[in-house]
Homo-oligomer: 208 residues x 2
Amino acid sequence: MTAQRKPNPLYTMRKVPSQARSKATIQAILSSATRLLLSIGYDKASTNKIADLAGVSVGSLYEYFPGKEAIFAEVRRREDQRLFNLTMARPEPRSIKELVRSHVAVYLEFVRSNLALHAALINDVPQFAVGQQELPFYREYVPWVTNFLHTHKAELRPAGDITQVANFVSHVARATIDNYVLHAPDQLTDRLIEDLLIDLLERFLLEP
Amino acid sequence: MTAQRKPNPLYTMRKVPSQARSKATIQAILSSATRLLLSIGYDKASTNKIADLAGVSVGSLYEYFPGKEAIFAEVRRREDQRLFNLTMARPEPRSIKELVRSHVAVYLEFVRSNLALHAALINDVPQFAVGQQELPFYREYVPWVTNFLHTHKAELRPAGDITQVANFVSHVARATIDNYVLHAPDQLTDRLIEDLLIDLLERFLLEP
DNA sequence: GCATGTTACGAGTTATCACTCGGTTATGGT
DNA sequence: ACCATAACCGAGTGATAACTCGTAACATGC
C-alpha cells in the first residue's frame, strides 16, 4: 500500500439528512468543493474555504463530513455514479462490436463533459481507500461486461479466460482515456483517439 | 487546466551543487522524501519532517529546493530517467514484435521493482506542471518509437498516421500498467497482464 | 594559513489548517 | 401552539505547516 491511512469510515458521510434543507446544504458543500478544486487545487481547498464558498458554516460542514477527504471521496463517488447512469441509459448492444463502440463513446462523452474536473480528480485528488469495489464502475459495470462477453462468446476470439479478458479490456479503455485527459486533453476533442481505441479493442476481441 | 499554480521555476531545483557533500545532502533529502512518501503519504510529508529524517536542517533543504513540490518533482524526474536508462540498455529490437515485447517487459520490470513507490507517485503525488515534454519518456522515448515504426513500416498494418499510432501505443501500454499498479497490483506479479498486453498491441500493429 | 565562496544550521515567524463546542434557529408532527 | 429534534452557527483552540535569516562551519585555491 502506498501510505498508512485512517480507517475507512472516515471517507464516508457522517449522517443521513432527513430534511430538504440539509440536502441542499450537502449539495452546496459538494459544489463548493468542486469549484475550489478547479480554481485552487486540492491542497489549498481547505474545509474553511469550502464552507465559506458554500455559504454554510464549518460547523455544518462537519455535521455531514468527517473531514476534507470524505468530501472529495463523495464528489468522486457521485461522478462515478453519473458515469454508470450514462452507461446504463444506452441501448443494449447487440454485438461485441457494438459493445466496444458504446463503451468507448460513453466514457469519452463522460470525460469530455467536464475535462477539467476529471483531470483534477485523477491528478490532484488522492485516491483514498475508497476501494474500486465501492465504485459502480467496478462493482457493476465490469461484471456486466464479463457477462456480456460470456453470452457472445461465439464471436469472441479465444484470448484466455473470459472473465480476465473482460476485466482487461474494461481497464485498457478507461486507463488510456484517463491518460489522455491528463497528458493531452486537446486530443480528446476530435475523433482520432476514439477511432484508434475502437480499432485496438475490436482487433483484440474479434476474429479478423 | 486543473488548477492555477505558481510559475514553473518553483518545481525545479534552486541551485546546482558544486561540492561533493552538497550532492550527498540532496541525495539524502530525496531518499528521505521517498521514504516518508511511502510511510505517511504526500500530504503529511512536510519539509520539516523530510529534513529531519534526512539528517539535515530545513535551512539546507531550502538551499536546494524552493519547496516541497519541487522535491517530489525531482523524485519523479529521477525515476523517469531510470526508466529511460532501463529502456536504452536493452538490445535494439529487430522487429515490431520484438519492440512490443521489449516495451511491455521493460515497463513492467520497472514498476515491479518498486510497486509501492510507483503507486504513490501515481496516486498520492500531484503531477505538477512538470510537463510531459520534460520527462525522458515523452521527450526521448516516444519519438524513438515513432522513428522505429517508420523504418519498419513494411510490417506495419496501416492504421492511420504513423506518428499518431506510435504515440497511441506508447500511451496504451503505460496507462494500462499504471492502472493495474493502482487498482490491482497483485495481478502484475504473474505473466497474465504481460501476455494480454503484448497480444493487444501486436494485433493492433501487425497483420495477422 | 589566509581569504573567499560554499554549505549547513535551526530557532523563530507568520500563516493556515482541521476540527470542537456551547448555544441559537428552523422544522414538522401532534 | 408546543415541543422534540434536526439543522445550523462561527469564534476559538491547538497543532502544524512553509519558509527566513543571521550565524557558524567547512572547502578550495593561493
